[in-house]
Protein backbone atom coordinates (compact mmCIF):
# COMPACT_ATOMS: atom_id res chain seq x y z
CA UNK A 1 0.00 0.00 0.00
CA UNK A 2 3.00 2.30 -0.18
CA UNK A 3 2.00 3.48 -3.63
CA UNK A 4 -1.36 4.79 -2.49
CA UNK A 5 0.46 6.64 0.29
CA UNK A 6 2.74 8.23 -2.31
CA UNK A 7 -0.27 9.19 -4.41
CA UNK A 8 -1.92 10.88 -1.42
CA UNK A 9 1.32 12.71 -0.67
CA UNK A 10 1.56 13.96 -4.27
CA UNK A 11 -2.09 15.01 -4.19
CA UNK A 12 -1.46 17.02 -1.02
CA UNK A 13 1.60 18.60 -2.63
CA UNK A 14 -0.44 19.52 -5.71
CA UNK A 15 -3.16 21.07 -3.56
CA UNK A 16 -0.51 22.85 -1.49
CA UNK A 17 1.22 24.27 -4.56
CA UNK A 18 -2.10 25.46 -5.96
CA UNK A 19 -3.01 27.07 -2.64
CA UNK A 20 0.32 28.90 -2.47
CA UNK A 21 -0.10 30.05 -6.05
CA UNK A 22 -3.66 31.22 -5.44
CA UNK A 23 -3.25 32.98 -2.11
CA UNK A 24 0.38 34.13 -1.87
CA UNK A 25 0.59 37.93 -1.78
CA UNK A 26 -3.09 38.26 -2.61
CA UNK A 27 -3.52 41.45 -0.51
CA UNK A 28 -7.22 40.85 -0.18
CA UNK A 29 -7.88 41.14 -3.89
CA UNK A 30 -10.52 38.43 -3.87
CA UNK A 31 -12.61 39.95 -6.62
CA UNK A 32 -9.90 40.65 -9.15
CA UNK A 33 -6.71 38.61 -8.63
CA UNK A 34 -8.21 35.41 -7.24
CA UNK A 35 -10.49 34.57 -10.19
CA UNK A 36 -7.67 35.40 -12.59
CA UNK A 37 -5.30 33.08 -10.76
CA UNK A 38 -7.97 30.40 -10.39
CA UNK A 39 -8.52 30.24 -14.13
CA UNK A 40 -4.77 29.86 -14.64
CA UNK A 41 -4.64 27.01 -12.14
CA UNK A 42 -7.56 25.35 -13.91
CA UNK A 43 -5.73 25.67 -17.22
CA UNK A 44 -2.58 24.19 -15.71
CA UNK A 45 -4.52 21.26 -14.26
CA UNK A 46 -6.15 20.33 -17.57
CA UNK A 47 -2.90 20.78 -19.45
CA UNK A 48 -1.20 18.59 -16.87
CA UNK A 49 -3.87 15.91 -17.20
CA UNK A 50 -3.75 15.94 -21.01
CA UNK A 51 0.03 15.82 -21.27
CA UNK A 52 0.62 13.26 -18.53
CA UNK A 53 -2.08 10.91 -19.77
CA UNK A 54 -1.09 11.09 -23.41
CA UNK A 55 2.62 10.64 -22.75
CA UNK A 56 2.23 7.61 -20.48
CA UNK A 57 -0.17 5.98 -22.95
CA UNK A 58 2.05 6.81 -25.92
CA UNK A 59 5.10 5.35 -24.22
CA UNK A 60 3.22 2.17 -23.36
CA UNK A 61 2.04 1.73 -26.94
CA UNK A 62 5.50 2.34 -28.41
CA UNK A 63 7.33 0.40 -25.67
CA UNK A 64 9.73 3.28 -25.37
CA UNK A 65 10.28 5.51 -22.39
CA UNK A 66 12.08 8.40 -24.04
CA UNK A 67 9.47 9.22 -26.68
CA UNK A 68 6.77 11.85 -26.44
CA UNK A 69 3.70 12.22 -28.66
CA UNK A 70 5.36 15.25 -30.27
CA UNK A 71 7.18 12.73 -32.46
CA UNK A 72 4.13 12.31 -34.68
CA UNK A 73 4.52 15.96 -35.65
CA UNK A 74 1.62 17.60 -33.82
CA UNK A 75 3.77 20.30 -32.21
CA UNK A 76 5.32 21.27 -35.52
CA UNK A 77 1.89 21.29 -37.15
CA UNK A 78 0.70 23.70 -34.47
CA UNK A 79 3.62 26.04 -35.15
CA UNK A 80 3.06 25.79 -38.88
CA UNK A 81 -0.63 26.61 -38.48
CA UNK A 82 0.04 29.70 -36.39
CA UNK A 83 2.77 30.88 -38.72
CA UNK A 84 0.69 30.33 -41.85
CA UNK A 85 -2.27 32.19 -40.36
CA UNK A 86 -0.15 35.17 -39.41
CA UNK A 87 1.87 35.12 -42.61
CA UNK A 88 -1.06 35.03 -45.00
CA UNK A 89 -3.87 36.67 -43.04
CA UNK A 90 -1.89 39.02 -40.80
CA UNK A 91 -1.72 39.27 -37.02
CA UNK A 92 -4.90 41.35 -36.97
CA UNK A 93 -7.07 38.71 -38.60
CA UNK A 94 -9.93 37.16 -36.66
CA UNK A 95 -8.36 33.67 -36.72
CA UNK A 96 -5.30 35.04 -34.92
CA UNK A 97 -6.80 37.62 -32.58
CA UNK A 98 -9.93 35.75 -31.52
CA UNK A 99 -8.71 33.05 -29.17
CA UNK A 100 -11.86 30.93 -29.44
CA UNK A 101 -11.78 30.82 -33.21
CA UNK A 102 -8.07 30.09 -33.17
CA UNK A 103 -8.51 27.32 -30.58
CA UNK A 104 -11.31 25.53 -32.41
CA UNK A 105 -9.58 25.87 -35.77
CA UNK A 106 -6.28 24.56 -34.41
CA UNK A 107 -7.78 21.60 -32.55
CA UNK A 108 -9.86 20.65 -35.59
CA UNK A 109 -6.95 20.76 -38.00
CA UNK A 110 -4.59 18.88 -35.66
CA UNK A 111 -7.12 16.12 -35.01
CA UNK A 112 -7.96 15.81 -38.70
CA UNK A 113 -4.24 15.62 -39.50
CA UNK A 114 -3.68 12.87 -36.93
CA UNK A 115 -6.66 10.88 -38.20
CA UNK A 116 -5.51 11.20 -41.81
CA UNK A 117 -2.01 10.11 -40.85
CA UNK A 118 -3.34 7.05 -39.00
CA UNK A 119 -5.78 6.18 -41.77
CA UNK A 120 -3.03 6.36 -44.35
CA UNK A 121 -0.75 4.14 -42.32
CA UNK A 122 -3.23 1.60 -41.05
CA UNK A 123 -5.04 1.18 -44.35
CA UNK A 124 -2.54 -1.37 -45.56
CA UNK A 125 -3.15 -3.96 -42.89
CA UNK A 126 -1.21 -3.81 -39.69
CA UNK A 127 1.96 -1.84 -40.12
CA UNK A 128 4.35 -1.86 -37.20
CA UNK A 129 4.00 1.20 -35.01
CA UNK A 130 7.58 2.27 -35.74
CA UNK A 131 6.53 3.00 -39.30
CA UNK A 132 4.07 5.54 -37.92
CA UNK A 133 6.81 7.14 -35.84
CA UNK A 134 9.16 7.39 -38.81
CA UNK A 135 6.53 9.01 -41.00
CA UNK A 136 5.71 11.31 -38.08
CA UNK A 137 9.33 12.43 -37.78
CA UNK A 138 9.54 13.13 -41.50
CA UNK A 139 6.25 15.03 -41.61
CA UNK A 140 7.24 16.95 -38.46
CA UNK A 141 10.58 17.97 -39.96
CA UNK A 142 8.79 19.03 -43.13
CA UNK A 143 6.39 21.23 -41.16
CA UNK A 144 9.23 22.76 -39.15
CA UNK A 145 11.17 23.57 -42.30
CA UNK A 146 8.22 25.38 -43.90
CA UNK A 147 7.61 27.19 -40.63
CA UNK A 148 11.21 28.41 -40.48
CA UNK A 149 11.05 29.44 -44.13
CA UNK A 150 7.94 31.53 -43.56
CA UNK A 151 9.36 33.02 -40.38
CA UNK A 152 12.41 34.23 -42.30
CA UNK A 153 10.22 36.00 -44.82
CA UNK A 154 7.72 37.42 -42.39
CA UNK A 155 7.47 41.07 -41.35
CA UNK A 156 9.47 41.59 -38.10
CA UNK A 157 6.45 43.00 -36.27
CA UNK A 158 4.37 40.02 -37.24
CA UNK A 159 7.18 37.73 -36.17
CA UNK A 160 6.79 39.05 -32.63
CA UNK A 161 3.31 37.55 -32.61
CA UNK A 162 4.56 34.27 -34.02
CA UNK A 163 7.32 34.12 -31.45
CA UNK A 164 4.78 34.64 -28.73
CA UNK A 165 3.00 31.46 -29.84
CA UNK A 166 6.21 29.41 -29.96
CA UNK A 167 6.41 29.05 -26.21
CA UNK A 168 3.75 27.66 -23.96
CA UNK A 169 2.34 30.31 -21.72
CA UNK A 170 -0.34 30.52 -19.07
CA UNK A 171 -0.42 34.30 -19.02
CA UNK A 172 -3.42 35.77 -20.84
CA UNK A 173 -5.45 32.59 -20.77
CA UNK A 174 -8.94 32.98 -22.16
CA UNK A 175 -11.57 32.05 -19.56
CA UNK A 176 -14.15 30.70 -21.99
CA UNK A 177 -11.53 28.48 -23.59
CA UNK A 178 -10.58 26.97 -20.26
CA UNK A 179 -14.20 25.98 -19.63
CA UNK A 180 -14.46 24.48 -23.09
CA UNK A 181 -11.21 22.57 -22.64
CA UNK A 182 -12.26 21.32 -19.19
CA UNK A 183 -15.48 19.98 -20.68
CA UNK A 184 -13.65 18.20 -23.48
CA UNK A 185 -10.96 16.73 -21.24
CA UNK A 186 -13.45 15.46 -18.66
CA UNK A 187 -15.49 13.72 -21.37
CA UNK A 188 -12.36 12.14 -22.83
CA UNK A 189 -11.07 10.98 -19.46
CA UNK A 190 -14.41 9.32 -18.69
CA UNK A 191 -14.21 7.53 -22.03
CA UNK A 192 -10.52 6.62 -21.62
CA UNK A 193 -10.60 5.34 -18.07
CA UNK A 194 -12.12 1.96 -18.95
CA UNK A 195 -9.01 1.12 -20.98
CA UNK A 196 -6.62 1.47 -18.04
CA UNK A 197 -6.47 -2.25 -17.29
CA UNK A 198 -5.92 -2.99 -20.99
CA UNK A 199 -2.92 -0.66 -20.98
CA UNK A 200 -1.30 -2.88 -18.35
CA UNK A 201 -1.62 -5.82 -20.75
CA UNK A 202 -0.38 -3.77 -23.72
CA UNK A 203 2.88 -3.21 -21.88
CA UNK A 204 3.52 -6.98 -22.08
CA UNK A 205 3.92 -6.64 -25.84
CA UNK A 206 1.67 -7.36 -28.81
CA UNK A 207 1.82 -11.14 -28.72
CA UNK A 208 1.16 -11.52 -25.02
CA UNK A 209 -1.63 -8.96 -25.24
CA UNK A 210 -3.39 -10.84 -28.05
CA UNK A 211 -2.89 -14.09 -26.17
CA UNK A 212 -4.68 -12.55 -23.20
CA UNK A 213 -7.70 -11.66 -25.31
CA UNK A 214 -7.03 -7.99 -25.99
CA UNK A 215 -7.99 -6.80 -29.49
CA UNK A 216 -4.57 -5.25 -29.79
CA UNK A 217 -4.84 -3.36 -33.06
CA UNK A 218 -8.21 -1.80 -32.34
CA UNK A 219 -7.18 -0.68 -28.84
CA UNK A 220 -3.89 0.76 -30.05
CA UNK A 221 -5.74 2.76 -32.71
CA UNK A 222 -8.25 4.09 -30.18
CA UNK A 223 -5.44 5.07 -27.84
CA UNK A 224 -3.50 6.84 -30.61
CA UNK A 225 -6.56 8.89 -31.52
CA UNK A 226 -7.08 9.78 -27.85
CA UNK A 227 -3.43 10.83 -27.53
CA UNK A 228 -3.73 13.07 -30.58
CA UNK A 229 -6.91 14.72 -29.27
CA UNK A 230 -5.39 15.34 -25.83
CA UNK A 231 -2.23 16.84 -27.29
CA UNK A 232 -4.21 18.99 -29.71
CA UNK A 233 -6.36 20.41 -26.93
CA UNK A 234 -3.48 21.22 -24.61
CA UNK A 235 -1.27 22.63 -27.39
CA UNK A 236 -4.04 24.81 -28.78
CA UNK A 237 -4.79 26.08 -25.28
CA UNK A 238 -1.32 27.04 -24.06
CA UNK A 239 1.23 26.16 -26.77
CA UNK A 240 3.71 23.32 -27.29
CA UNK A 241 4.63 21.70 -24.01
CA UNK A 242 5.01 17.98 -24.74
CA UNK A 243 8.53 17.90 -23.32
CA UNK A 244 6.90 18.14 -19.91
CA UNK A 245 5.34 14.73 -20.56
CA UNK A 246 8.73 13.08 -20.83
CA UNK A 247 9.74 14.34 -17.40
CA UNK A 248 6.53 13.57 -15.57
CA UNK A 249 6.04 10.11 -17.09
CA UNK A 250 9.56 9.03 -16.17
CA UNK A 251 9.36 10.56 -12.70
CA UNK A 252 6.16 8.59 -12.24
CA UNK A 253 7.82 5.32 -13.33
CA UNK A 254 10.67 5.98 -10.92
CA UNK A 255 8.46 6.94 -8.03
CA UNK A 256 5.98 4.09 -8.30
CA UNK A 257 7.91 1.18 -9.82
CA UNK A 258 4.75 -0.61 -10.92
CA UNK A 259 3.15 -1.75 -14.16
CA UNK A 260 -0.31 -0.58 -13.10
CA UNK A 261 -1.42 2.29 -15.29
CA UNK A 262 -4.10 3.36 -12.85
CA UNK A 263 -1.25 4.32 -10.50
CA UNK A 264 1.26 5.49 -13.14
CA UNK A 265 -1.18 7.82 -14.92
CA UNK A 266 -2.51 9.39 -11.72
CA UNK A 267 1.05 9.83 -10.48
CA UNK A 268 2.15 11.47 -13.71
CA UNK A 269 -0.89 13.78 -13.66
CA UNK A 270 -0.17 14.92 -10.09
CA UNK A 271 3.53 15.44 -10.82
CA UNK A 272 2.76 17.52 -13.86
CA UNK A 273 0.25 19.67 -11.97
CA UNK A 274 2.85 20.25 -9.25
CA UNK A 275 5.56 21.19 -11.74
CA UNK A 276 3.28 23.45 -13.79
CA UNK A 277 1.84 25.33 -10.83
CA UNK A 278 5.20 25.43 -9.06
CA UNK A 279 7.01 26.48 -12.23
CA UNK A 280 4.48 29.21 -12.97
CA UNK A 281 4.85 30.53 -9.43
CA UNK A 282 8.63 30.69 -9.90
CA UNK A 283 8.16 32.49 -13.23
CA UNK A 284 5.88 35.08 -11.69
CA UNK A 285 7.53 35.63 -8.29
CA UNK A 286 11.22 34.85 -8.79
CA UNK A 287 11.76 35.85 -12.40
CA UNK A 288 8.93 38.42 -12.38
CA UNK A 289 7.84 37.36 -15.87
CA UNK A 290 11.28 37.86 -17.39
CA UNK A 291 11.11 34.29 -18.71
CA UNK A 292 8.34 31.85 -19.65
CA UNK A 293 7.28 28.60 -18.07
CA UNK A 294 8.21 26.52 -21.09
CA UNK A 295 11.78 27.85 -21.01
CA UNK A 296 12.11 26.61 -17.44
CA UNK A 297 10.45 23.28 -18.25
CA UNK A 298 12.62 22.76 -21.30
CA UNK A 299 15.73 23.56 -19.26
CA UNK A 300 14.89 21.23 -16.38
CA UNK A 301 13.52 18.64 -18.80
CA UNK A 302 16.63 18.80 -20.97
CA UNK A 303 18.90 18.18 -18.00
CA UNK A 304 16.71 15.27 -16.92
CA UNK A 305 16.64 13.86 -20.46
CA UNK A 306 20.44 13.81 -20.62
CA UNK A 307 20.51 12.12 -17.22
CA UNK A 308 18.07 9.47 -18.53
CA UNK A 309 20.19 8.83 -21.61
CA UNK A 310 23.35 8.48 -19.54
CA UNK A 311 21.62 6.14 -17.12
CA UNK A 312 20.18 3.96 -19.90
CA UNK A 313 23.53 3.72 -21.66
CA UNK A 314 25.25 2.67 -18.44
CA UNK A 315 22.76 -0.10 -17.77
CA UNK A 316 23.30 -1.81 -21.13
Amino acid sequence: MRNSFKLILLALLAIGASAVYLFHDLNGSFDYALPKRAIKVAAMVITGVAIAYSTVVFQTITHNRILTPSIIGLDSLYMLLQTVLIFFLGSGHVTVVNKQVNFILTVAIMVVFALLLYRLLFKKGNQPIYFLLLVGIIVGTFFSSITTFLQVLIDPNEFQVVQDRMFASFNNINTDLVWLAIGLIVLLIIYAWRFTAYLDVLSLGRENAINLGVSYDSIVKKMLVLVAVFISISTALVGPLTFLGLIVANLSYQAFKTYKHSVLINGAILISVISLVGGQWVVERVFTFSTTLSVIINFVGGVYFIYLLLKESRST
Binding site: N126, A197, D200, N208, I210, N211, L212, G213, Y259
Partner: protein
Protein backbone atom coordinates in the same frame (compact mmCIF):
# COMPACT_ATOMS: atom_id res chain seq x y z
CA UNK B 1 -10.24 -30.44 -32.04
CA UNK B 2 -8.41 -27.80 -34.04
CA UNK B 3 -9.02 -28.13 -37.77
CA UNK B 4 -6.73 -26.21 -40.08
CA UNK B 5 -8.25 -25.97 -43.57
CA UNK B 6 -6.02 -25.07 -46.56
CA UNK B 7 -4.32 -22.25 -44.70
CA UNK B 8 -1.86 -20.04 -46.64
CA UNK B 9 0.33 -17.07 -45.88
CA UNK B 10 2.31 -15.04 -48.40
CA UNK B 11 4.97 -12.42 -47.88
CA UNK B 12 4.93 -10.62 -51.19
CA UNK B 13 4.80 -13.41 -53.73
CA UNK B 14 6.72 -15.87 -51.62
CA UNK B 15 4.57 -18.36 -49.79
CA UNK B 16 5.59 -19.13 -46.24
CA UNK B 17 2.71 -21.48 -45.53
CA UNK B 18 0.91 -22.98 -48.47
CA UNK B 19 -2.39 -24.82 -48.43
CA UNK B 20 -1.85 -26.51 -45.08
CA UNK B 21 -4.58 -28.83 -43.85
CA UNK B 22 -4.05 -30.46 -40.45
CA UNK B 23 -6.21 -31.81 -37.65
CA UNK B 24 -5.02 -31.47 -34.08
CA UNK B 25 -6.56 -34.04 -31.74
CA UNK B 26 -7.68 -33.22 -28.22
CA UNK B 27 -5.78 -34.55 -25.23
CA UNK B 28 -2.51 -35.10 -27.08
CA UNK B 29 0.84 -33.47 -27.60
CA UNK B 30 1.27 -32.60 -31.25
CA UNK B 31 4.74 -31.51 -32.36
CA UNK B 32 5.49 -29.40 -35.42
CA UNK B 33 8.93 -30.29 -36.76
CA UNK B 34 10.85 -29.36 -39.86
CA UNK B 35 13.88 -27.44 -41.08
CA UNK B 36 14.37 -23.70 -40.49
CA UNK B 37 12.00 -21.64 -42.62
CA UNK B 38 9.51 -24.46 -43.03
CA UNK B 39 6.67 -22.26 -41.73
CA UNK B 40 6.15 -23.94 -38.36
CA UNK B 41 6.04 -20.75 -36.30
CA UNK B 42 3.99 -18.94 -38.93
CA UNK B 43 1.43 -21.73 -38.89
CA UNK B 44 1.25 -21.62 -35.10
CA UNK B 45 0.89 -17.83 -35.17
CA UNK B 46 -2.02 -18.08 -37.59
CA UNK B 47 -3.80 -20.71 -35.51
CA UNK B 48 -3.46 -18.47 -32.46
CA UNK B 49 -4.56 -15.31 -34.32
CA UNK B 50 -1.27 -13.48 -33.84
CA UNK B 51 -1.08 -13.38 -37.62
CA UNK B 52 -3.88 -13.09 -40.17
CA UNK B 53 -4.02 -15.86 -42.76
CA UNK B 54 -4.21 -14.87 -46.42
CA UNK B 55 -6.55 -17.72 -47.22
CA UNK B 56 -8.03 -20.79 -45.58
CA UNK B 57 -9.61 -21.13 -42.18
CA UNK B 58 -9.00 -22.42 -38.68
CA UNK B 59 -11.83 -24.14 -36.83
CA UNK B 60 -11.67 -24.70 -33.09
CA UNK B 61 -14.32 -27.13 -31.88
CA UNK B 62 -16.27 -26.39 -35.09
CA UNK B 63 -16.12 -22.58 -34.69
CA UNK B 64 -14.22 -20.38 -37.11
CA UNK B 65 -11.63 -18.48 -35.05
CA UNK B 66 -12.32 -15.28 -36.95
CA UNK B 67 -15.89 -15.35 -35.67
CA UNK B 68 -14.85 -15.72 -32.04
CA UNK B 69 -14.53 -12.72 -29.75
CA UNK B 70 -10.93 -12.01 -28.67
CA UNK B 71 -11.81 -12.49 -25.06
CA UNK B 72 -13.66 -15.79 -25.58
CA UNK B 73 -10.83 -17.06 -27.77
CA UNK B 74 -8.30 -16.34 -25.04
CA UNK B 75 -10.20 -18.62 -22.68
CA UNK B 76 -9.89 -21.52 -25.12
CA UNK B 77 -6.49 -21.12 -26.76
CA UNK B 78 -3.28 -19.73 -25.31
CA UNK B 79 0.00 -19.13 -27.12
CA UNK B 80 3.52 -18.61 -25.88
CA UNK B 81 6.05 -17.24 -28.35
CA UNK B 82 9.78 -17.73 -28.14
CA UNK B 83 10.84 -14.16 -27.46
CA UNK B 84 9.19 -12.43 -24.56
CA UNK B 85 10.89 -9.09 -24.26
CA UNK B 86 9.05 -6.63 -22.06
CA UNK B 87 10.02 -3.21 -20.86
CA UNK B 88 8.09 -3.44 -17.63
CA UNK B 89 9.57 -4.99 -14.53
CA UNK B 90 7.32 -7.71 -13.15
CA UNK B 91 7.56 -10.31 -10.44
CA UNK B 92 6.70 -13.92 -11.24
CA UNK B 93 3.42 -13.59 -9.40
CA UNK B 94 2.45 -10.43 -11.26
CA UNK B 95 3.18 -12.11 -14.58
CA UNK B 96 1.20 -15.22 -13.71
CA UNK B 97 -1.69 -13.02 -12.52
CA UNK B 98 -1.87 -11.59 -16.03
CA UNK B 99 -2.92 -15.09 -17.11
CA UNK B 100 -6.26 -14.41 -15.41
CA UNK B 101 -6.88 -11.25 -17.42
CA UNK B 102 -9.40 -12.88 -19.80
CA UNK B 103 -11.55 -13.75 -16.79
CA UNK B 104 -11.02 -10.87 -14.42
CA UNK B 105 -10.00 -7.87 -16.57
CA UNK B 106 -7.34 -6.94 -14.04
CA UNK B 107 -9.46 -7.24 -10.89
CA UNK B 108 -8.50 -10.58 -9.41
CA UNK B 109 -11.22 -12.45 -7.54
CA UNK B 110 -10.49 -15.06 -4.88
CA UNK B 111 -10.89 -17.78 -7.46
CA UNK B 112 -8.36 -16.03 -9.72
CA UNK B 113 -5.87 -15.86 -6.86
CA UNK B 114 -6.36 -19.57 -6.26
CA UNK B 115 -5.68 -20.36 -9.94
CA UNK B 116 -2.54 -18.23 -9.79
CA UNK B 117 -1.39 -20.06 -6.67
CA UNK B 118 -1.98 -23.42 -8.33
CA UNK B 119 -0.16 -22.45 -11.51
CA UNK B 120 2.85 -21.19 -9.57
CA UNK B 121 2.84 -24.34 -7.45
CA UNK B 122 2.58 -26.51 -10.56
CA UNK B 123 5.71 -24.95 -12.05
CA UNK B 124 7.58 -25.21 -8.70
CA UNK B 125 7.97 -21.45 -8.43
CA UNK B 126 6.28 -20.86 -5.06
CA UNK B 127 9.50 -20.01 -3.22
CA UNK B 128 10.54 -17.38 -5.71
CA UNK B 129 7.16 -15.96 -6.71
CA UNK B 130 8.11 -12.47 -5.61
CA UNK B 131 11.39 -12.37 -7.55
CA UNK B 132 11.60 -10.11 -10.58
CA UNK B 133 11.74 -11.76 -14.00
CA UNK B 134 15.00 -10.04 -14.96
CA UNK B 135 16.68 -11.70 -11.97
CA UNK B 136 15.83 -15.22 -13.17
CA UNK B 137 17.74 -17.74 -15.26
CA UNK B 138 16.45 -18.73 -18.68
CA UNK B 139 14.83 -21.90 -17.38
CA UNK B 140 13.10 -20.18 -14.48
CA UNK B 141 11.84 -17.45 -16.77
CA UNK B 142 10.42 -19.98 -19.23
CA UNK B 143 8.69 -21.75 -16.35
CA UNK B 144 7.20 -18.44 -15.21
CA UNK B 145 5.74 -17.84 -18.67
CA UNK B 146 4.35 -21.36 -18.82
CA UNK B 147 2.81 -20.74 -15.39
CA UNK B 148 1.04 -17.71 -16.86
CA UNK B 149 -0.38 -19.90 -19.63
CA UNK B 150 -1.48 -22.50 -17.08
CA UNK B 151 -3.24 -19.79 -15.06
CA UNK B 152 -5.01 -18.80 -18.26
CA UNK B 153 -6.56 -22.27 -18.03
CA UNK B 154 -7.22 -22.91 -21.71
CA UNK B 155 -8.13 -26.19 -23.36
CA UNK B 156 -5.46 -25.68 -26.02
CA UNK B 157 -1.90 -24.57 -25.26
CA UNK B 158 0.35 -23.60 -28.17
CA UNK B 159 4.06 -23.17 -27.59
CA UNK B 160 6.60 -21.84 -30.07
CA UNK B 161 10.01 -23.42 -29.39
CA UNK B 162 9.76 -23.40 -25.61
CA UNK B 163 13.09 -25.21 -25.32
CA UNK B 164 15.03 -22.48 -27.06
CA UNK B 165 18.24 -21.62 -25.18
CA UNK B 166 17.54 -24.10 -22.41
CA UNK B 167 20.01 -26.72 -21.26
CA UNK B 168 19.20 -30.45 -21.23
CA UNK B 169 18.00 -30.53 -17.64
CA UNK B 170 15.59 -27.66 -18.06
CA UNK B 171 14.41 -28.90 -21.45
CA UNK B 172 13.51 -32.28 -19.95
CA UNK B 173 11.82 -30.54 -17.02
CA UNK B 174 9.65 -28.43 -19.33
CA UNK B 175 8.73 -31.41 -21.55
CA UNK B 176 7.77 -33.48 -18.51
CA UNK B 177 5.52 -30.70 -17.28
CA UNK B 178 3.85 -30.46 -20.69
CA UNK B 179 3.31 -34.22 -20.65
CA UNK B 180 1.70 -33.90 -17.20
CA UNK B 181 -0.56 -31.13 -18.43
CA UNK B 182 -1.87 -33.50 -21.07
CA UNK B 183 -2.02 -36.66 -18.97
CA UNK B 184 -3.24 -35.19 -15.66
CA UNK B 185 -5.24 -32.13 -16.65
CA UNK B 186 -6.44 -33.26 -20.08
CA UNK B 187 -5.01 -30.26 -21.93
CA UNK B 188 -4.12 -30.27 -25.62
CA UNK B 189 -0.58 -29.13 -26.34
CA UNK B 190 0.78 -28.05 -29.71
CA UNK B 191 4.49 -27.36 -29.76
CA UNK B 192 7.11 -26.29 -32.28
CA UNK B 193 10.30 -28.25 -31.68
CA UNK B 194 13.73 -28.26 -33.23
CA UNK B 195 15.17 -31.29 -31.50
CA UNK B 196 13.46 -34.28 -33.11
CA UNK B 197 14.43 -36.49 -30.18
CA UNK B 198 12.26 -34.45 -27.82
CA UNK B 199 9.49 -34.72 -30.40
CA UNK B 200 10.04 -38.47 -30.62
CA UNK B 201 10.08 -39.14 -26.88
CA UNK B 202 7.31 -36.83 -25.67
CA UNK B 203 4.75 -36.28 -28.42
CA UNK B 204 1.76 -38.35 -29.49
CA UNK B 205 1.58 -37.01 -33.01
CA UNK B 206 4.04 -35.26 -35.26
CA UNK B 207 3.33 -32.88 -38.12
CA UNK B 208 6.37 -32.40 -40.36
CA UNK B 209 6.56 -29.27 -42.49
CA UNK B 210 8.90 -28.37 -45.28
CA UNK B 211 8.83 -25.31 -47.55
CA UNK B 212 5.47 -24.25 -46.13
CA UNK B 213 3.76 -27.55 -46.85
CA UNK B 214 2.87 -30.52 -44.69
CA UNK B 215 5.05 -33.42 -45.80
CA UNK B 216 4.11 -35.93 -43.09
CA UNK B 217 1.39 -36.06 -40.48
CA UNK B 218 0.86 -39.04 -38.23
CA UNK B 219 1.53 -40.84 -34.96
CA UNK B 220 5.06 -40.37 -33.65
CA UNK B 221 6.15 -43.95 -34.46
CA UNK B 222 5.26 -43.57 -38.11
CA UNK B 223 7.19 -40.33 -38.54
CA UNK B 224 10.37 -41.25 -36.66
CA UNK B 225 11.57 -43.55 -39.45
CA UNK B 226 14.84 -43.16 -41.32
CA UNK B 227 13.23 -42.89 -44.75
CA UNK B 228 10.58 -40.41 -43.59
CA UNK B 229 13.15 -38.22 -41.87
CA UNK B 230 15.30 -38.25 -44.99
CA UNK B 231 12.38 -36.82 -46.90
CA UNK B 232 11.98 -34.03 -44.34
CA UNK B 233 15.55 -33.08 -43.55
CA UNK B 234 17.56 -34.40 -46.54
CA UNK B 235 19.78 -36.24 -44.09
CA UNK B 236 20.47 -39.89 -43.42
CA UNK B 237 19.34 -40.33 -39.85
CA UNK B 238 19.84 -43.75 -38.25
CA UNK B 239 17.38 -44.58 -35.51
CA UNK B 240 18.14 -46.56 -32.37
CA UNK B 241 15.51 -47.98 -30.05
CA UNK B 242 16.42 -47.54 -26.36
CA UNK B 243 14.12 -48.19 -23.38
CA UNK B 244 11.12 -48.03 -25.66
CA UNK B 245 12.17 -44.63 -27.03
CA UNK B 246 13.20 -44.10 -30.62
CA UNK B 247 16.31 -41.94 -30.70
CA UNK B 248 17.59 -40.30 -33.87
CA UNK B 249 21.36 -40.36 -34.06
CA UNK B 250 21.88 -37.46 -36.44
CA UNK B 251 25.09 -36.01 -35.06
CA UNK B 252 27.54 -37.68 -37.41
CA UNK B 253 25.41 -38.54 -40.40
Amino acid sequence: MIKVRSLSKFYGKKSVVEDVTVNIQRGQITSFIGPNGAGKSTLLSMVSRLLDADSGEVLIDQTDVRKMKSNEFSKVVSILKQSNYMNVRLTIRELVSFGRFPYSKGRLTEEDERCVDQAIEYMHLTDMQDSYLDELSGGQKQRAFIAMVIAQDTEYILLDEPLNNLDMKHSVQIMKILRQLVDDLGKTVVIVLHDINFASVYSDRIVALKDGKVVKDGPTRDIIQSDTLKEIYDMDIPIQEMNNCRICVYFSS
